[in-house]
């Protein structure tokens, strides 16, 4: 069978055992491609385990900028894990390549005629080159990266530059790493015909973009957004949000004069306490947040109800993973949409933000602190494992130095002196958002009692039905106001007067350009809308109204966003078609387009239209 021929369009899979140091070598490989100016999207597929289990690292390379997971088999598999070898051989796309450690003979039963086997005795080379067992293991990874550089035609100087960057300050380690790369490179050039028919070529498709994971961007957003107090509890995949916040705080938030911290982070005893800390700090006038995932959301629900009802600002980052219960803790999903939208008992509603890229994680994370204080309610940033933990090709992070924090309706001592009558829950402006004060502001004005029980406009406890209803209606009004503050959906019109629309959010956005291209090949030009926040604004209603059939893409079983749209906007369920993908792997353009093609009512047209974004 003929080998696959491609330039800058392929998927390479690394099969490793976790805990063997493969992650840094693999990410160096992806970064090298990025530095060659080629769009690249790496994804870690890892177990909930520290050492000894199978782990994969998929790298999609696409000059067309298709950055979602590609459906089907990888073109090249680097098989370094004996445990998963049988699967790894089976998984290579026909016409593709299997690169493996030939120090151990491969089981003849696994041999295939339709792929090319590239064996290199990596273990033997390591045994010869290195004395210490840990180095033998560690350098295996670097050696195969060197070999791949030859096989795929990666610029060797780019790799050398990466090694130099990686070991800045530990220069002693540069030479041995470069040596290991060269060992692999030289072996490949002498034993294989390099480059392969699948190869790379430097280009300029990356532009000013960066390669960063969403959790790092979210943590940085919290630094820029002025967060000072954090309560948290470790849980995959949200842990690195707070770790990154702390890392950048230690770099950027230590007062140069006193050496003291302009931030305070508390690792709490559980998620209940973590959100309690955020609420206590928000109540007391600091910008505060917590980060968690699935099970943590369940535990935080009671407190979310308190913050909603008592109107305490705070930010909650939810890096979603596959549920229910412990579910698949290291796999991705968008399955907390419903539970977060209405988190807690009673008539509650929460504000949700849906980022689709690290740049949006950064912007929304920073903006969330303004929103929380403007709206005096929790803001939940709905990220997910794929976005949070995998490097994404993202627009560079930007900040406008002219902008200032909006601390919301807070009265200071002087303003309180001028106020005739202060009522914490008095709707002075008619927008449902009332004025608050921080504890300690004024000796005898603006003092009130915050509680989760019902109260009147002056924060006095009451069980009078009419006072309760008045307050609940004001809260409803506040959420109508909220829509004006929230990021609006991003439209991707097909400019064809299409009667078919598709609604998506979060990481499904990454698959959408490719989806549109696949649909266009079949004569379908449909309009797209990426939802950015909840509660929904008028543009969402307008989009649905403007189409006869609307597909709603969810990465969960229930079609949670679709249900939310049906309920909140009182839509006819027949009009909104459920597209769900929930096996824990990120959704693909092939999956979406095939589903739409099978279910679309509109007939295909033959035409070429240019799509625009807004």
């Amino acid at each position: 069978m003929a080998s696959i021929k491609s330039v800058n369009e392929c998927v390479i899979r690394f099969a490793n055992t976790n805990g063997t140091g493969s992650a840094s070598a693999n990410s160096m490989f992806a970064k090298a491609i990025f530095r060659m100016g080629i769009p690249v999207s790496p994804a870690n597929i890892f177990p909930s385990n520290i050492q000894g289990m199978s782990t994969w690292y998929d790298v999609r390379v696409s000059a067309k900028d298709y950055m979602a997971r590609r459906e089907g088999s990888p073109d090249i598999v680097v098989a370094m894990n004996a445990q998963s070898m049988a699967d790894d051989v089976r998984n290579v796309r026909p016409g593709g390549f299997l690169f493996y450690d030939s120090s151990r003979q491969i089981d003849p039963a696994l041999m295939r005629q339709d792929i090319t086997f590239l064996g290199m005795p990596i273990s033997e080379i390591c045994l010869r080159e290195y004395q210490a067992p840990n180095l033998r293991q560690l350098f295996k990874n670097v050696i195969y990266v060197g070999a791949l550089a030859a096989l795929l035609d990666i610029d060797f100087s780019v790799l050398k530059g990466l090694v130099a960057d990686q070991f800045k300050g530990k220069e002693k380690l540069v030479a041995p790493n470069v040596h290991a790369l060269e060992l692999g490179y030289q072996y490949a050039t002498t034993h294989f015909s390099c480059p392969l028919s699948i190869r790379l070529e430097a280009t300029d498709k990356v532009g000013s973009r960066i390669l960063i994971d969403g959790n790092t961007a979210t943590g940085l957003g919290a630094v820029y957004g002025g967060a000072t107090v954090v309560g948290w509890y470790p849980i995959t995949p949200s842990t690195s949000v707070v770790e990154n916040f702390e890392k950048y705080c230690k770099r950027l938030r230590i007062d140069p004069a006193s050496g003291k911290n302009n931030f305070a982070i508390m690792q709490a005893e559980d998620e209940l306490s973590a959100i309690g800390i955020a609420i206590g700090a928000g109540w007391n006038g600091a910008r505060s947040f917590t980060a968690t995932s699935g099970p943590g959301i369940s535990l935080m629900s009671e407190f979310l109800g308190l913050a909603y009802f008592a109107e305490v600002p705070m930010v909650l980052v939810n890096v979603q993973r596959a549920g229910p219960s412990t579910g698949m803790p290291t796999r991705t999903q968008q399955s907390d949409v419903m539970t977060c939208a209405y988190a807690s008992h009673g008539d509650t509603k929460q504000v949700l933000l849906f980022p689709s890229s690290p740049a949006e994680c950064f912007n929304m994370s920073a903006q969330a602190f303004d929103l929380a204080e403007q709206l005096q309610t929790p803001i939940i940033l709905m990220s997910d494992l794929d976005l949070g933990m995998n490097d994404q090709l993202s627009d560079a992070l930007t900040w406008d130095d002219k902008q200032s924090y909006d601390r919301g309706k807070v009265l200071n001592e002087q303003q309180l002196d001028e106020v005739e009558q202060f009522g914490r829950y008095l709707d002075v402006d008619g927008d449902g958002i009332c004025y608050r004060t921080y504890p300690g502001t004024h000796p005898d004005k603006g003092i009130f009692f915050t509680r989760g029980t019902s109260r009147d406009e002056f924060a006095i406890y009451t069980e009078k039905g009419d006072e309760y209803v008045k307050n609940m209606q004001r809260l409803e009004r506040k959420f109508e106001t909220a829509v004006n503050y929230l990021p609006q959906p991003i439209l991707h019109p097909a400019n064809s007067g299409s009667r078919t629309g598709v609604i998506y959010y979060g990481m499904s956005d990454v698959a959408i350009t490719e989806t549109f291209d696949l649909l266009a090949e079949q004569g379908h030009y449909i309009d797209g809308m990426c939802i950015k926040s909840f509660p929904f604004g008028q543009p969402v209603q307008d989009f649905i109204d403007a189409h006869d059939q609307v597909f709603v893409i969810d990465q969960n079983r229930e079609g949670q966003m679709r249900k939310l749209l049906i309920m909140e906007l009182e839509q006819n369920p027949a009009k909104l078609v459920k597209v769900t993908h929930y096996d824990g792997m990120p959704i693909t353009a092939t999956f979406i387009s095939q589903f739409i093609l099978q279910n679309i009512i509109a007939t295909p047209v033959k035409r070429n239209t240019k799509r625009t974004g807004s």
Partner: protein, 350 residues
């Protein structure tokens, strides 16, 4: 039945250094049962804060859920209050304390709130040495849900309905000591003279101060077979170390002869003056305090008074190395690294 609290007061009421009377520190009219120990705790707090001349708005009062947690409404009306969720006051107090280190924090909790649903949060707020005064109004019973036994009720005693308490009780003062509290005391709501100086010392103590106050429930736990009734507690209380509180910069006029008193100097310069009593244990020695509590327990007695104080420990903010400026008052200049720095960060991801 509803009452209105009289605003009238005597024109020559004593005034503190701020020119305020104790009435300026009162709260709303209590809706707790007449005779409830919690109201006596509130009254002692009012007196303590009044005498310390602390502006009430520089205090924040936090509570969980239950009768005890309702109590903050009935004292310090000029303080912000936060009635949070059941058993979770410690975490909210932690966040509040992290946000603004310049206020005083008083946490008011009960036995259900602290020894049951909130035991985990209690343990951890002690551990992290939050600078606050944590009061448990301990009556051994669930009041708001009408008379179920609490985790602090003693095994063998019976509830009002006649149910025997089957499980051993949790002693919160012992727990606080074990977990590293730097101020631990126990008192009785029927003994205001003891409560007031202890509360003053606790409020002035920089660090985690815990006071377990036996505060009988007149409605559900004041019967003959209860060990938390007024009568039972009065009969079994053993006052250990008698403590006076000497505020900062006050003229010390009383002179004690050698061996009659023993001073513990707090961070702010105020002094806890211990009378040498007959229950000779050392309130600066954790082991000695624990031993004394256990010994009295074995004798069927409740040891009250100051149990332990060590003002030399560092509090949460010292450990976290937080800036002296309250975090809630920092602005963009101090918090936001700006666009130029961000460009540098971007380059690190290329």
């Amino acid at each position: 039945m509803s009452f209105l609290k009289s605003k009238f007061h005597h024109p020559r009421l004593a005034r503190n250094e701020l020119g305020l009377t104790h009435r300026d520190y009162e709260g709303s009219l209590s809706t707790l049962c007449a005779g409830c120990g919690h109201d006596a705790v509130g009254a002692a707090l009012v007196q303590a804060v009044f005498e310390l001349s602390i502006p009430a708005h520089k205090i924040a009062k936090l509570s969980g859920i239950g009768c005890s947690s309702k109590a903050p409404t009935y004292f310090l009306n000029q303080s912000h209050g936060f009635n949070t969720v059941h058993g979770r006051m410690p975490s909210v107090a932690t966040g509040a304390g992290m946000a603004n280190r310049s206020l005083k924090y008083i946490g008011m909790s009960g036995d259900g709130d602290t020894a049951s649903i909130g035991l985990g949060q209690f343990a951890h707020v002690v551990r992290r040495r939050l600078d606050m005064t944590y009061i448990v109004a301990n009556n051994g019973v669930y009041g708001l849900t009408k008379g179920q036994m609490a985790a602090t009720a003693e095994r063998g005693s019976t509830t009002k309905k006649g149910n025997k308490v089957l499980w051993p009780d949790i002693d919160l003062a012992t727990m606080a000591l074990e977990l590293g509290a730097t101020f631990v005391a126990r008192s009785f709501s029927g003994d205001k003279e003891q409560m007031v100086p202890l509360l003053k010392a606790a409020i002035c103590h920089e660090g985690f101060a815990f006071i377990d106050i036996i505060s009988p429930c007149v409605t559900f736990n004041n019967h003959a077979t209860s060990t938390r009734s007024y009568d039972y507690v009065r009969e079994h209380v053993q006052e250990g170390l008698i403590a006076d509180f000497v505020p900062v910069a006050s003229d010390i006029t009383t002179s004690y002869g050698e061996g009659e008193s023993n001073d513990i100097c707090l961070h702010d310069g105020s002094i806890i003056r211990l009378h040498k009593g007959s229950n000779g244990f050392d309130a600066r020695d954790r082991q000695s305090s624990l031993g004394a509590i256990h010994k009295h327990r074995e004798n069927g007695e409740i040891l009250t008074g100051l149990l332990y104080c060590d003002p030399t420990y560092r509090d949460m903010h010292d450990i976290l190395n937080t800036t002296e400026t309250p975090l809630n008052s920092l602005n963009e200049k101090e918090l936001c690294p700006g666009a130029h720095t961000l460009n540098g960060i971007n380059n690190g991801f290329r």
